[in-house]
Symmetry: C2
Subunit: 342 residues, 2 copies
């Protein structure tokens, strides 16, 4: 460090942050930039965290390994990418029919969520800080409308990670395809459907031009939370004031990302519809079948995975209470407002 | 300050924060404490902000004056308390049929909200930072059920501030009574109804014992935002790193407060129902009449108040877009989840 060692002076420090995301997802990638700028501003420029897009320092899905192994001090990622190591990672992000955005923040911040997830992540030498949420995502782009359960059978569907474990029980054939190849595959028909995020990101990808049916809701991503993952040794070495800055700056990023999606989705949605995208609700029968499969899957995982069992028990109880409460004044107000010609 | 003027050392600084709230509203008062602790932790204890409950340094509703006049550097308050000075204050907090909690944060942070409100507050020598939200409040406690518009006529209703301007057009007689006198007035029948916040705070007040009908939604408080108000001269004197800490710590308080209400309301709601509170939705006709009166009022204010006209034009356009979008994937997901027997 270059600062003089006087009382009140903080050490100069440089960290590298590996994001799992490309710069083109500006609201998500941008959350890490918000975080980094905030830490720099609060430390008077002495704590600098450089932000690196997915693939620059390591593959996007290797961010957990990179943090755990100390290649970087910090990552910004979606915990459910790592469900192959342990399904419990998915609960820290989102699972089908999980908490919505506000409920997830409530569970994390005022419930047992952060405590339970941190106890789990500690096994990977990681401490996490909530780092953004997208809100309920859309259900993706389909060449043909899903009119019932039969239409799910054999559907070649590009769908991320953990949700594939549910949809394959409905006869869907989950596909794992790099983002850049999805458009062509939909155009050729080697893919029947693909999900991405929501209007703001989807408009940029342009999938509506080749698969115009826009199903909703994205029941497998009701409130996905991103996280900052910090190596526990790097964290322990931080002075207490820098720790407080990191924690607080992460919260700013957390809020800014949700605000950005909420503020920008409406105009993008409108533009998609103008360009002939056709929003269609999933049939109730599809949601019901998916819900049954999801609950069966969670039971099965719980029987063999004690980490899941511990975390999911609390999560599920919290979800039940939240939805019992939210159906009253929150839902009634929103539905009244949404029914108005404002 | 007592700190030596060397590079890297921050000045020791003490501020006083006047809250408009009593300690008994622990989620709200607590938000100011979260803020203060966070600033202290990030500054290594050098920037101390003492938090004073409503009435200790000045009356609860004099916080704006106290900040404007420099009696304190900072306050934590509900902007709509000051609608008597200018109705535009209410927009920075909540107005009947306004934005919900997520929408309000989106407008503030990623829309034009913060920019527009700051331009307005600057006339009062104040800069604001979002400092919490309660979510949609309940519609309060009633001795007798409101079954239609006729039941609103002559209703002696304890209801705060700006909302009174709408309900009086429906024949309600708004009452302004200190919190401590509400229970007795309801018991005696000198008051017919009273609104407070939501289950978590309402349970403590115990009004359900004397007025058991619990109407919802609280259409006049769909997402009230509290603010930290800072004297613009005090703000300008802050070093840039302290400014960044204040801004970021406020955001932590903002999130924590909503999370606290969301996490704690369900159990309180359940307990209220166990104690014979009876949740009843407002009749549609009451909401419709209130909505028409509110829109007429906003038109009238806009014709004579240029501040309102400027801010409300943007706010109303944002609200329209938000509700057009939220009715799709967000509403469909929530309503599906709320309909499940989880």
């Amino acid at each position: 460090g270059t600062a003089p060692a006087v009382v009140g002076a903080q050490p100069a420090l440089r960290w590298r942050l590996a994001s799992s995301f490309p710069k083109s997802l500006d609201t998500i990638y941008g959350a890490a930039e918000v975080f980094s700028r905030r830490v720099a501003a609060m430390s008077g420029g002495r704590f600098q965290i450089s932000v690196h897009p997915g693939g620059e320092l390591m593959p996007p899905l290797a961010v957990l390994d990179g943090v755990q192994g100390g290649t970087v001090e910090i990552g910004h990622t979606a915990p459910y990418y790592y469900f192959g190591k342990d399904e419990t990672f998915a609960i820290g992000c989102t699972i089908p029919f999980g908490l919505n955005s506000r409920q997830m923040s409530a569970w994390m911040i005022d419930g047992q969520g952060l405590k339970l997830m941190r106890a789990f992540y500690a096994q990977y030498k990681v401490i996490n800080f909530p780092g953004g949420n997208t809100g309920v995502q859309m259900g993706g782009w389909y060449r043909r409308e899903i009119k019932g359960l039969a239409d799910m059978k054999g559907l070649k569907f590009r769908i991320g990670g953990f949700a594939g474990r549910v949809v394959e029980r409905m006869g869907v054939v989950p596909q794992n395809l790099p983002g850049g190849q999805v458009y062509q595959a939909l155009e050729k028909g080697t893919l029947d459907a693909a999900e991405w995020v929501g209007p703001y990101d989807d408009l940029k990808l342009g999938l509506h031009k080749v698969a115009p049916i826009y199903h909703y809701p994205g029941w497998w991503e009701g409130g996905p939370q991103l996280d900052f993952f910090i190596n526990t040794e790097a964290w322990a070495k931080l002075p207490a004031d820098y720790q407080a800055m990191v924690e607080t700056a992460a919260m700013q990023a957390h809020v800014n990302m949700q605000a950005a999606y909420d503020a920008r989705n409406p105009a993008a949605f409108r533009e998609l519809v103008r360009q002939k995208a056709r929003p269609v609700a999933f049939p109730r029968a599809v949601l019901d079948a998916a819900y049954q499969h999801a609950m069966a899957l969670y039971d099965e995982i719980g029987q063999r995975n004690p980490n899941w069992r511990t975390v999911y028990a609390d999560y599920a109880a919290f979800r039940r209470e939240q939805n019992l409460w939210f159906r009253f004044t929150e839902a009634r107000y929103d539905s009244y407002m949404q029914g108005l010609r404002l």
